[in-house]
């Protein structure tokens, strides 16, 4: 994938040491990455694999033990690079004594935005994240999902070119998660670059262009999502307007056999639980008062 390199790490290594300088834990080992403009990049890995360490190193929250990290061509320690970055931490670590407007005003000031820009963007983003009716409530009274939404708004207040999202769908209900994924897709359309860490692999699969999989601080896999997930030894055929029957099964098996393969299984595709859930919720909105009764389902 061609394009301007926004983030680059060269042999980026992070070793945690104890008070006496003895090596305690290697969080990241010689990571080499390139993230290009306009892509959605996923960082995957089990707990303790080095995802958050990588993000913290890129943001200057940690200092590398070895190697280098560059964002927009500037060293990660250079705070001026942060002018074009929006960051949503894993937990929405915001000041809980502030309300939504005050929160966005505060973070707007940190970007040196003038009062008018701050007000306009704060108003827009509060509406966009669906907190218009709660703008005056202090964050302490917000649910986790609401805090995640206002957290995203603060990450977007500077209209960043690079958005770093640590577990963006954490704490969100399926509706919220879908909304977040749509928003990330929108950001891609606007030409912004997104880096996201997530444990929800289906989210990553849905929206990421490229991914890196880390384990125990080492890069295990790195590349285009479709290419990585592609199983070249298997074939998937989707068709509509036909029912499975013996003759269709027999004919297909013959065709596959003729080409040297064999049919493993054949059946109707299932939707994802997320899609099913969203459809049900949408329908319930369209038909208020309708109830699901188990006894009727049995009939």
């Amino acid at each position: 994938m061609a394009g301007e390199v926004i983030v680059e790490t060269r042999k980026l290594t992070k070793v945690y040491r104890d008070f006496w300088g003895r090596q305690k834990h290697t969080a990241l080992k010689a990571l080499n990455l390139e993230i290009r403009k306009g892509e959605i990049f996923g960082l995957l890995g089990p707990n303790g694999s080095g995802k958050t360490t990588t993000i913290k190193l890129l943001l200057g929250l940690l200092f590398p033990t070895d190697g280098e990290a560059f964002v927009f061509g500037k060293p990660a320690a250079d705070v001026t690079k942060n002018e074009k970055i929006g960051y949503l931490p894993e937990e929405s670590y915001l000041y809980r004594f502030l309300n939504a407007e005050e929160t966005l005003d505060f973070y707007g000031r940190l970007f040196n935005l003038d009062a008018q820009t701050r007000n306009t963007r704060a108003r827009d983003w509060i509406e966009r994240v669906g907190l218009g009716s709660n703008r005056k409530r202090i964050l302490k009274e917000y649910s986790k999902g609401m805090r995640q939404r206002i957290g995203l708004a603060q990450a977007m207040i500077n209209d960043p070119d690079l958005v770093i999202l640590d577990e963006p769908t954490s704490g969100l209900d399926p509706l919220g998660a879908r909304w977040m994924k749509n928003l990330i897709a929108e950001l891609r359309e606007q030409g912004k670059t997104v880096i996201m860490c997530s444990h929800r692999l289906e989210d990553v699969q849905d929206i990421c262009d490229r991914i890196a999989i880390l384990n125990q601080g080492e890069l295990q896999a790195y590349g285009d999502v479709k290419e990585l997930l592609q199983d070249v030894n298997r074939l998937e055929l989707r068709a509509s307007g036909v029912q499975i029957n013996d003759s269709l099964r027999q004919e297909l098996e013959e065709v596959v056999k003729r080409h040297g393969g064999k049919v493993d299984s054949m059946g109707h595709p299932t939707t994802t639980l997320e899609d099913y859930f969203l459809r049900i919720v949408e329908e319930s909105k369209a038909h208020p008062g309708r109830r699901f009764i188990p006894s009727e389902a049995k009939k």
Partner: protein, 641 residues
């Protein structure tokens, strides 16, 4: 009324004056520069050696060059200074005095260079700092403190307002002093403790809760966080302080009875002179009568001590011209009496006062007396005061033959303002005459003698003064109110000190440890005099080792030690201890100077020079801490905490 309340301003240290500024700045450069040099050595050993090649290459060449030149030359000069100091040990003489001067100059230059090197990264970062960001962070701190209901803590002051009057003496001469001291003493711990708690725990809480991650990941210079926290808490506490001071003032004004108010609600503007003594062993001191508190020294009555009459002499500089437009100028004094006999019952000890100006010629006192007798006979419609004024202006002389002095009361004399007019007149002939005779030019001199043969009268420099303000002014209450707020400014300065220290410490340490260190430094500041004595080896009993030896052997702390090997080891190890104490003294704030309570309570104006100079001292003290906090936060891995 002949005697007012007992209003004694005991100043064991001279207040700061504008003349002290150049020396103060030089001393600050030397001390702060020394600390910066130690910091540079530590960084070279532990920071520079660990810096990666890539990071080192990214630093622009001019920055590296500037830093190397400043730090290198600073450290070399400090090494030379240390060498000079070693050669100067135990030597005296004019050649060594010159070398001493050279050493001072080199130390100042070395300090300046080291400070330049240490502050270079901050200086380079300064233009990047934004007022809007700092304001945002300050506002956040303000909101945080308000919404955490810190203001409620100040409701505790209501207890003082409600109940303290039960315990305050009703005697008019003590009432204002007691009221003022009670409200300041109540406000002081309340403000200092609350400020320290707020400031010490804010950044550590941000780090613990990771809220700081959302700040650090913005284009924020880390020092902006320090400044924002400091300014936010200071702003909030300042507002509360203004409100609390106004309430306290109201409480004092409403609480005191009219007699006490008339006597004590003042803000005198004293005009001080220098004190010396005649016919005593030491011209800087009078006799020692054995009082434990050695603030005052004493002059004996006639015939005691086998010398001429002991005289206390105050020499005043040229007075302000505002004094000449009046008829009289009040001088006030508070002397202590040491009685060797009971004396006469209900009678004070008599003292004589002679006021002269630099234009007064010896022998003119006879002319003055003769002319005064003549004028009193031939008044021509003039009052006694008019005649004294005319003569004082003519001769630069005014005697007050006998004034009974009573213990524990501030007494006064009204001096003809003509004396001051005489002092301010131009007189080139007299000036040349004095210069020709190589005699000092003392614009105004006051000589005090004790007239009672069996008594001593004790005095210190600040016990006698002229009042620059008008004692009959109808605005004395207003001046007191203004002075009350100036007194609160002293508390404000101490509060800034506590907030500054706590914020600086909390950039690296936990909240509890930051709070503890702040309090230790503050307490160190409160007992700075004692630490100074220990550091100088001037305290009785010696240093810790010597004291331990004395304790173990049950030796008297005043008795000289035997010259045994063990004792020598003890006294020598105390030398090293004293060196450490002297270095520690540089880290301890001068709290005493920031406390103006006594001025307000005793009814003395706090001059604007004092306010400004003490603010400068505080600024100078906090500046190195600010620099330290800059580096501590800059080098701290926030993400790993």
């Amino acid at each position: 009324m002949d005697q007012t309340l007992f209003a004694t301003l005991i100043l064991e240290r001279d207040p700061l004056r504008w003349e002290d500024v150049p020396t103060g700045i030089l001393s600050w450069i030397q001390v702060a520069g020394g600390i910066a040099a130690i910091g540079l050595i530590l960084w070279t050993l532990f920071g520079w050696t660990r810096m990666s090649k890539a990071d080192s290459e990214r630093i622009p060449a001019w920055k590296k060059m500037a830093f190397a030149i400043l730090a290198g030359s600073g450290l070399i000069l400090f090494t030379i200074v240390l060498g000079l100091k070693a050669t100067l040990l135990g030597q005296e003489g004019s050649a060594d005095a010159q070398r001493q001067k050279l050493q001072e100059a080199l130390q100042t230059l070395a300090g300046l260079l080291s400070l330049g090197a240490a502050s270079l990264p901050l200086m380079i970062n300064l233009p990047r700092m934004s007022g809007r960001r700092i304001f945002g962070l300050a506002k956040l701190s303000f909101q945080e403190a308000v919404r955490r209901r810190v203001v409620y803590a100040f409701a505790a002051l209501l207890l003082v307002f409600l109940f303290s009057s039960w315990f305050i003496p009703y005697k008019p001469e003590d009432q204002v002093r007691s009221y003022v001291q009670v409200v300041y003493w109540a406000m002081t711990p309340l403000f200092l403790l609350t400020s320290a708690l707020l400031a010490a725990f804010s950044i550590p809480a941000d780090i613990r809760n990771q809220t700081i991650h959302t700040i650090i990941t913005k284009p924020v210079e880390r020092f902006e966080i320090v400044l924002g926290r400091f300014l936010g808490f200071t702003a909030l506490m300042s507002l509360i302080m203004v409100a609390m001071t106004a309430l306290s003032l109201l409480y004092v004004l409403r609480g005191v009875d009219p007699a006490a108010a008339a006597e004590s609600l003042k803000a005198r503007k004293p005009f001080y002179g220098d004190l010396s003594f005649l016919n005593t062993d030491d011209s800087r001191k009078g006799d020692n009568v054995g009082r434990e508190f050695e603030y005052r020294s004493y002059i004996a009555g006639p015939g005691m001590g086998g010398r001429g009459p002991a005289t206390a002499v105050w020499n005043f500089p040229f007075p302000p011209s505002s004094l000449t437009s009046r008829n009289k100028v009040r001088c006030e004094f508070t002397f202590d009496i040491y009685r060797t006999t009971k004396g006469r019952e209900n009678r004070g000890v008599a003292c004589s006062f002679i006021f002269t100006t630099w234009r007064f010629r010896e022998g003119d006192e006879r002319k003055y007396e003769a002319e005064k007798r003549q004028a009193l006979q031939d008044r021509k419609g003039r009052s006694d005061a008019d005649i004294e004024n005319e003569l004082a202006e003519k001769y630069g002389y005014y005697p007050y033959p006998s004034k009974p002095i009573t213990d524990y009361h501030t007494l006064f004399l009204d001096i003809p303002a003509g004396l001051f007019r005489n002092a301010l007149k131009e007189d080139p002939a007299r000036l040349n005459e004095l210069k020709g005779a190589n005699r000092p030019i003392n614009p105004i001199t006051v000589k005090v003698n004790c007239l009672d043969p069996t008594q001593y009268v004790g005095m210190a420099r600040y016990d006698f003064y002229f009042r620059e303000d008008d004692q009959d002014s109808p605005y004395e209450k207003f001046h007191f109110a203004v002075n009350f707020f100036k007194g609160a400014y002293g508390l404000w300065l101490r509060m800034c000190l506590v907030i500054g220290l706590s914020v600086a410490m909390s950039t690296y340490l936990t909240g509890v440890i930051s709070l503890l260190i702040t309090f230790i430094l503050f307490l160190g500041g409160l007992v700075q005099d004692f630490i100074q004595q220990v550091a100088a080896g001037a305290n009785p009993g010696g240093g810790p080792m010597e004291s331990l030896f004395r304790l173990v052997r049950r030796e008297n702390m005043a008795a000289p030690l035997e010259q045994t090997t063990a004792n020598q080891i003890a006294t020598n190890s105390d030398v090293a201890f004293r060196w450490i104490m002297r270095r520690l003294l540089d880290l301890i704030p001068d709290i005493d100077r920031l406390d103006f309570t006594l001025f307000v309570a005793e009814g003395f104006d706090i001059s604007s020079a004092q306010l400004v100079l003490n603010s400068l001292v505080l600024f100078g003290y906090l500046l190195p801490w600010a620099l330290l906090s800059y580096f501590l936060l800059k080098w701290r891995e926030i993400g790993s905490s």
